[in-house]
Structure formats: C-alpha cells, structure tokens
Symmetry: C2
Subunit: 430 residues, 2 copies
C-alpha cells in the first residue's frame, strides 16, 4: 500500500527538486543528514556509505552531516553524571562532541573502502560558529570552512552535526535536533539544491499510521504545515530546523535511510499545494488540562501566570479564558503531561497570592488537529471539522485555531475515532 502510494508520486517533479537528471548528469549539490540510528553500528555506517556513493556516482556533489551513533551520547551523559550530578555545560559540550567526531571519521573510512574520496570536518572546522550558550547554542554564522574547495576536488565532505564553536574557540553543541539544524544551515550556506534528512521514518504522514490506519505519506508540504505538525506533537523534526529552512528557503526532504523510497519534500508554499485543503491530521495524547478558577478579572493576571510558568520552562498550549460567576475569570490551558506536576506546584504558588483563586488539573486529554495551508483560501473547513466530530458523538473540551490549523482537546478515548473520521472527511484516505 505504502509502496504503491510512493510510486504514484510524479517522478519528474521529484527530479526537478533534486535538479538531478540522470541523462544530463546535472551536477547537484546535495546535503545529506544521517541520524544516530542510521549510523548506529559499522554495518549501518557502511550502508550509509553505499547510499552516498550512488549519489556521487550520479555526478552530484555531496556534503554529509552525521550524528553520534545511537546510544553513544546517552552513554557519555551517564558517565558524566556518575562523576558529577550537574556537569558543567562547557565540559558537557566538550564531552558530547566526541560522538559525532567518531562518526565522521568512520564514515569517511567507509567511503574510502568503496573508492569514494572523502574527508571529515568537525563543526569547528566546517566553520559552524555559534553563540556562547553551551548545550543549547544558536548558530551565528556558518562559513563552511574549506568545504567548497574539497567539493571541487571531487571529495565528499563529512561534517559533524550538532556541534559548533564559539568566538573563544570553545566547542558548543546545538541541543535537541541539532544535527538537522547543522544540515539545513550548511545547505543554506553552500546554496545546496536540496537537503536530505535521513531518518528512521520514511517521510511525513497525513496522520500517525499507528492511530489512523489509512494514513498516507505526504509527497510535498510547506514549511508552515510542518511547523504546525511539529508544534502538534509530530517528532520527525524540531521546529527550529524547519524555521531555519523557511527563513533561508532551503528545500529539504525527510526520508528513510533504510529504503530507497522518496520521502516528503518540504518547501515554501507552491501554487499547486493550494488545491490540497488539509494536508494532515495530528494527534497528541500527551496533554494535561489545567483550570484556574475564580481569578480576579483584571489586566495582568493572565500575564503574571504565564510569566511564572515560562520561568519554570513550561510550555502552555490551547489557552481559553472566559468569565465565570461574580466577575471572576476562569482560565483553562493544557501543558505537556510531563510538566503537569511542576506546573501545578508553580500555579499553587501564584494562586496563593490571588484571593479565592483555585487551580485544578482536570485530567489528561488528547489534542487532535487538522493542518493545511489550503484552509486560508477554502471556506467551510471549520464547519466540516465540527460536523465530523458531532456526527461521531465526540465531546469537545477546548478549541484553538490558527490560520492553517484547527485543534480540539477531547477525551483520550475519542482520539483515534476523531483522527480517523477527520482523515476520511478531508479526503486524506484517497
């Protein structure tokens, strides 16, 4: 079923994005990123090398960004914590950077054994300059070092993802999703034709296939749609990488390192995309609903509450405020289930200063959303959305919307039914 769907993608369209034409041997510059699972052991590294070779043999220039082998980073963290419960962040970066440095060298060696010229570069050597925020550094500038020169010498360049260097020469790391960001940022700097993100899923789906049986791989989508999906619990890519790609207009593809199927191409909104009203259904079952009742209805109360939560590192979602009895306000929102008890503790502190105010965790809920840039130009999406849920007797607890998505909070038991029903209603099954 999946395979049939994939082969139905217009392949010339696909080739256009790659600027690869096997007959004309158009030289494309491709940045490929392989995650930790894809380079998990030497056999897999050899598989990665074979894949890189096919792109080289087709006449492309290839820059490869790799992560640490899966498990390596966790083992290093564990070793660090056994020495120091709160390891210094500068030293943590020094430590974690070895994971990718190992992989770049091994990947280069694997390519050599296949007769492919290759050379490795650490983040610092590739000129990935960051700010000073150890363990969560932001990229300030990428010079690319001597990558262009190496490419012109016919070499594949293997770059350590996730790491950079600050202006004092310290090793920094980019935090979660850092290797994706390294790849996309390098693609922007090098003006690459495409950035391929190889991972253990084979693309982005109209819904989670474990929840919605008829979920389909999406051949193309916009940055905005993927950003909404990321914010809605899709774990394929971190929002910061997608935002970076959007800012610098880097076309990228999410695809599997375990097969040769085309994945999902993500790019700025194309006219053709507007025909598709809804591109996907997302389900996030990791939400807890929090209700604050009997708050004084005066300016600044909500701001104060969200400021305290923000200081505690808690992300708030699906905010609804309404006026309750006696001029007091009720405020409902959701937080990640993992943050629920911390959020409750913070909120009890806040409420103790607000006479009569109460906080209650009103249970875990599922957030079900439909996403699609086509919503902007198509009316009736909301109507169809709510009719579908009503037809299925699904009770809605919270609603939030944006320009390109509608989300509802519903009971966990209803999540699967809601997702499947919406998937069908918006013609995603076909």
């Amino acid at each position: 079923m999946l395979d049939l769907f994939c082969s139905a993608i217009k392949l010339d369209e696909y080739a256009r994005f790659y600027k690869i034409n096997r007959l004309k041997k158009y030289m494309a510059l491709i940045v490929q990123k392989y995650g930790g699972t894809s380079v998990g052991d030497t056999d897999r590294i050899m598989n990665v090398a074979r894949r890189i070779k096919t792109f080289v043999d087709d006449g492309n220039k290839v820059v490869v960004v790799v992560s640490a082998r899966s498990g390596v980073t966790n083992a290093l963290i564990e070793r660090a914590k056994s020495l120091n419960k709160e390891p210094d962040e500068r030293e943590m970066d020094m430590l974690l950077a070895v994971g990718e440095q190992e992989t770049i060298a091994l990947t280069a060696m694997a390519l050599h054994s296949l007769g492919v010229k290759a050379e490795s570069r650490t983040g610092a050597q590739a000129g990935i300059h960051t700010d000073f925020a150890h363990t969560r550094a932001r990229i300030v500038e990428i010079t690319g070092g001597d990558i262009q020169k190496l490419l012109n010498e016919g070499k594949v360049v293997i770059v350590a993802g996730f790491q950079g260097v600050d202006d004092d020469g310290n090793v920094t790391t980019l935090g979660r999703g850092g290797s994706d960001l390294s790849a996309i940022a390098l693609a922007a700097t090098l003006n690459a034709d495409i950035c391929q993100i190889y991972t253990d899923v084979d693309g982005i789906y109209t819904a989670d296939p474990r929840i919605v049986k008829k979920a389909k791989k999406i051949p193309e989508m916009s940055y905005e749609e993927l950003l909404e999906m990321a914010s809605l619990g899709s774990k394929v890519m971190q929002a910061r990488s997608v935002e970076f790609a959007q800012k610098y207009n880097v076309v990228f593809e999410v695809r599997s390192s375990f097969n040769n199927e085309p994945g999902t191409i993500v790019k700025s909104e194309a006219p053709s995309l507007e025909d598709v009203v809804i591109s996907g259904v997302a389900v996030d079952r990791n939400q807890t609903k929090v209700t604050l009742s009997d708050l004084p209805d005066k300016p600044g109360t909500a701001a104060e509450i969200f400021r305290k939560l923000g200081e505690g590192g808690i992300v708030v979602d699906m905010i609804v405020q309404n006026i309750g009895r006696g001029g007091k306000a009720n405020l409902t929102f959701t937080v990640s289930k993992d943050d629920a008890s911390k959020a409750e503790r913070i909120l009890r502190g806040v409420c103790s200063g607000l006479k009569g105010a109460n906080v209650s965790l009103t249970g875990d809920i599922a957030k079900v959303s439909v996403i699609g840039t086509g919503m902007r130009s198509h009316s009736g999406v909301a109507a169809k959305f709510f009719k579908t849920l009503a037809d299925n007797n699904i009770n809605i607890q919270v609603i939030t919307t944006s320009e390109i998505k509608i989300s509802v909070g519903i009971s966990l038991e209803d999540a699967e039914l809601a997702a499947s029903a919406l998937h069908s209603a918006f013609d995603l099954d076909k």
Copy 2:
C-alpha cells in the same frame, strides 16, 4: 621491602625538586600526566581528581595531561578496521583524538565535583602544533594557548595528550608514547618546575623485578641512563619523550597513580650521580640473532644490507662483523623477534645478489646490559662484568658497548642468572 626503600629517599632532596615547601606554600607549577590505565573508568578518574586536588590544596598550579581511557583507543581502531582494512591516516587521527577528548571533559567534571576549578583543552586548543605526519606527527611548536591565563585564574587545566593540530587545522596524533611527549613538551613551554608521569609502575628499577628479585627502585637517574634503558627494552617511557626532556632540561618523575610513594626523578646528570657506577641491569628477551656468512669482504656490502633492512622498517642491534675463511666476511646482528621472519625474507633477497652468501636465523637470544653514567669515570667495569658472567659459566655470543653501557647476547636460559649475578656484583642489591 619496597616501601622501606622508598622512605629511605632523602625527602628534603625530593622537596627541592618539587620546589614544594608545605610551610612556605611555594607556588610550584606542576605538569602531571595520567596514562590510560590511571583514567580507565570513572572511579579511577575520580581518584585522579582527588590526587590533583591535594596538589592544588598545597598551593601549586597544576596542568594535567591525560590519555584516552584504556581500551578506548583499541576499540576505535577495531571499529575503523571493520570498515576499512587500511584506514586513511588523517581520518584515523580524527577518530583516535576523541579518546582523549572524552577523558579531559570527564576529568574536569570530576574536579568540579570536588570543588576544584578546572577547564579542559584539546591538543589544538592548547596550541600543540605539529607537522603533517598523521599518526606519528612531530611537535613543531607549543604555544600553550590560554593555559597561563587559566592558571592565573586559579584553574587546573586539563589537556588532551597524544594529539595536536597541523598548520591546515587537521587533527594529528603523536604516535606511541605521545601523551608523555605532550606532557614533557608542555612542561618545557610552561617552564614547569616538574613534570610527573603517573603510570601503572611506581618508578624505574635497577632491573625488572620479575627477573631480578633484589631489584630496587632508582630514586634519581639521568636522561642518558633512562635512554639506554629505553633502548634496552624498558617499556616505562619512549625514548623520544626522554630525548625531548633532555633537550629542554625538563625534570620529570615517573611514579604510580595507585599509591603516594615518590617515584624516580629523571634529570640531567648531577655530580652526586657519579658516585653510582652502575644504575641498572636490563634484560631484553625479545631478540633473534641473524648471521650472514660468506659475504664478499668489500666496502658497501654491510651498508647495502642495513639500508634494505631500514627500508623494511627493521631495527638492527648488536652488530658484529668478522672475517671468515677465504677473505669472506661474516656479519652477525640481532633484530626484534617480531621482525625476524620479515628480516629473513629481505636478507634472502639481498643474498641472492651476492654469490655464495648465506643467511641464517641462529636462534632467539637474551640481551643483558648494565647501564651507568659512572662507567665513564670508573675503570674496571668491563672486567667485573665479564668475570661475573665467567664465574657463572655463562657463554657470551655477542658483545656491544657504548660509553655508558655494556650489552651481551646470551642464551635465553642464562638471562635470569646473568641479570641477578650482575645486579649483585655491581652492588645494586644493597
């Protein structure tokens, strides 16, 4: 027995070398080097950190050079070889450098947990500049980076041993014994008061204690004596590190990381040392005797033979040439047992071009040597040496001498007896 011996060292003498006076709190600058066994796991790293702390608490400035945890380098090499039988040397250096980078970060974290300020530096960050010879680079210059600044801030600086950087910014490694060399070279650059080489032996002995029961730890010795010992099979330190120390007059101490005993201090020849005629007895049981017979006795023959062996990377030792029957020459020398079959192959090739010449491997032998700078000014050393062997009915096959040592090749069975007898004869038992 050992402990008694150690406590017999004049401790004020010892303190003089350290320039440490606990009462006056003289600030010494100490470079310490810990090998792979000493930092083999997190418990041992914590022990190393505790030891560093005692020196910091005494008011010293400390720079620490560490190796990769034992086993890490071999595991990396194995992984590399599974991908590529002959891994590229540049990539090998990139790969192996992660071993030390892991240790520096972990050691810094361990120090932090003890409340000691510390910061790590890679070889490149410490300004260890090398030539371009990957996997066996030579140090060209050490700037020390910002180490002095960090020391002045009261920080311990942890430097990755074994690694450097070439003028193109590539990671290089220094080859065998590289971490010792990093430490001694840094001590020279920083003008340190002493360089302590922590290892799994507790000093340099008058003989191998496994062979000569009455072997004693040597409290002080000269660079030259240690160099002779290194060339005679002592594996405590590589000759290149000792030569570097000699060239820049770096006083260093070889001592154990598993106890607090003083080790062996190595420095330029001191007047007091001249009283000691012989400082040690060395035994090398890893030699094979090679005899070339019926060589044409004309100039250039031996040179040609040694050139070919040199090209094959074979080190030749204990060379003896004499004239045989009919104006033909015989040439005998020893090679390392590991190189014997390769040497034989090369020599058969050479002999095939020399009419009538024959090559034969005439068995494995032991090389037993006595070493001592005192030999220069004391007569009768050779006489006593040969009388001792004769008294013990030991047959001598080859003899070589230098200014400060006498070596003989004898049968393997006689090695232990010869070493013990010489140890007694030269008053090393006392």
